[in-house]
């Protein structure tokens, strides 16, 4: 690891100031991706700004929405009685990210800021139409994800909260890579009174995406069979040593059906 200056600001204003003052400064959330990246010398920040003292580790229900502080670890979301009751699909998703040790440290804000194309949280945030609150503004999920490892965030912008609307039904089905536990394909389905939203992670060349054909079919009939015969464009799929593009395109349909079945 290259050396860097470590800063642990006690409030959001100081954290933003430190990030804004130096283009080479980087924010550290749980560090479950960032620290391995630093160890491999894939990144050389001048200053690492630890966000753990900003008081952003909380979960609350407010105005019919579930609000999760950006520094809330996956394990906390998975074990939270509020989340289990209001949005059980999110608790289930959080409880299957990485492994137990990763879930104690990895955070929702870190996952969203990184926007790994195989991360689980982006699928939930996009399918649920959540809003991402930062120190300066509120960003709709549909505007937030802008391709692999790319988001609407500015370099000196910090995610503070994620606001989840509560669906009638929702579920997440993940086909995990057996070694890394990352999603080779993960499908989150959410049924609202206004219609169904479906988001897919792990599969697309541009990271998480919505599946319009699935959404249209499921909005008419929220059953696994409603997806029969609907295909996913192969040329938009990822291909790597773990699975070819046609394989992933097929898996998208299989996992979407499983998610619908699980949502009930």
């Amino acid at each position: 690891m290259y050396d860097f200056t470590y800063a642990k600001p006690a409030n959001i204003a100081d954290a933003v100031k430190t990030l804004a003052a130096d283009a080479e400064a980087k924010a550290l959330a749980g560090g479950m991706t960032f620290i391995p990246v630093l160890k491999q010398r894939l990144n050389k920040p001048s200053t690492v700004v630890d966000l753990s003292a900003l008081g952003l580790n909380y979960i609350k229900l407010e105005g019919g929405k579930l609000i999760v502080g950006a520094m809330t670890p996956h394990g906390t979301v998975a074990a939270s009685p509020e989340v289990k009751k209001a949005l059980p699909a999110l608790a289930e998703l959080a409880g299957n990210i990485g492994d137990r040790q990763v879930r104690y440290r990895g955070t929702i804000g870190g996952s969203l800021a990184n926007n790994d194309p195989s991360a689980c949280y982006p699928a939930a945030v996009l399918a649920l139409g959540a809003t991402i609150k930062t120190n300066t503004r509120t960003i709709a999920a549909d505007d937030y994800f802008q391709g692999m490892f790319t988001t609407a965030l500015n370099p000196d912008e910090i995610i503070t909260e994620v606001h989840f609307p509560l669906p009638e039904k929702a579920a997440y089905a993940k086909f995990a890579n057996p070694a890394s536990r990352y999603a080779m394909v993960g499908v989150f389905v959410a049924k609202f009174a206004s219609g169904v939203r479906v988001a897919i992670t792990g599969a697309g060349q541009n990271g998480v995406f919505r599946h319009a054909a699935f959404e249209a079919a499921l909005s008419k009939s929220f059953t696994p069979d409603a997806l029969n015969g609907i295909t996913t464009p192969v040329d938009e799929m990822n291909a790597d040593i773990h699975g070819s593009a046609p394989y992933r395109a097929h898996l998208v349909g299989v996992m979407a059906k499983r998610a619908v079945a699980a949502a009930g």
């Binding site: 470590y6 620290i35 394990g75 990485g98 137990r100 440290r105 070694a179």
Partner: protein, 164 residues
């Protein structure tokens, strides 16, 4: 260099570390607590698991400076004052849950956290899921799972540890 203070195995310690020093490097190289192993160095194998404020974490994926003020427990901190083993260590011995022993410190630290986190009981499936972050290349896991299942009732005071 920054000086950090923390509690390791019940004792207050301080160490001079660089910002980039990993927790596992501080434990092994500065404090000479070499029971915590480095296996993969890529956050996957779990040989370096220690407890930080009661939670099992991979010490190769945490900066030492992040542990400022924390309570850290390593495998060396488990043995009782009279030299007797922690029930989890005892059950690992009893059930032959190790062969080469390299993964064992991390396995034991993860297992203790897993048992502590499930006072209501622990199924075999939960134990296997709970060990996802720890790799063992010798035992095939069966005896590790047995050892953890056997340690649960002892750690939750349902049965006493059998006399040797």
């Amino acid at each position: 260099m920054a000086q950090i203070s923390l509690t390791v195995n019940g004792k207050t310690v301080s160490a001079d570390v660089e910002s980039r020093t990993l927790l596992v490097e501080m434990l092994r190289d500065k404090l000479h607590l070499t029971g915590t192993h480095v296996g993969c160095d890529t956050s996957q194998c779990g040989a370096c698991v220690v407890q930080v404020n009661g939670m099992s974490v991979k010490a190769c994926t945490m900066l030492a400076v992040q542990a400022e003020g924390a309570k850290v427990l390593t495998i060396e901190g488990l043995v009782n004052e009279d030299g007797s083993l922690h029930p989890m260590q005892e059950m690992f011995r009893e059930h032959h849950a190790l062969q080469c022993g390299y993964c064992t410190p991390g396995m034991v630290m993860s297992a203790i956290d897993l048992v502590n986190s499930h006072p209501e009981g622990l199924t075999e499936e939960q134990i296997r899921h709970g060990l996802e972050g720890n790799l063992c290349r010798c035992t095939g896991y069966h005896n590790i799972v047995k050892a953890i299942a056997a340690a649960w009732p002892i750690m939750h005071n349902k049965v006493p540890m059998a006399a040797e």
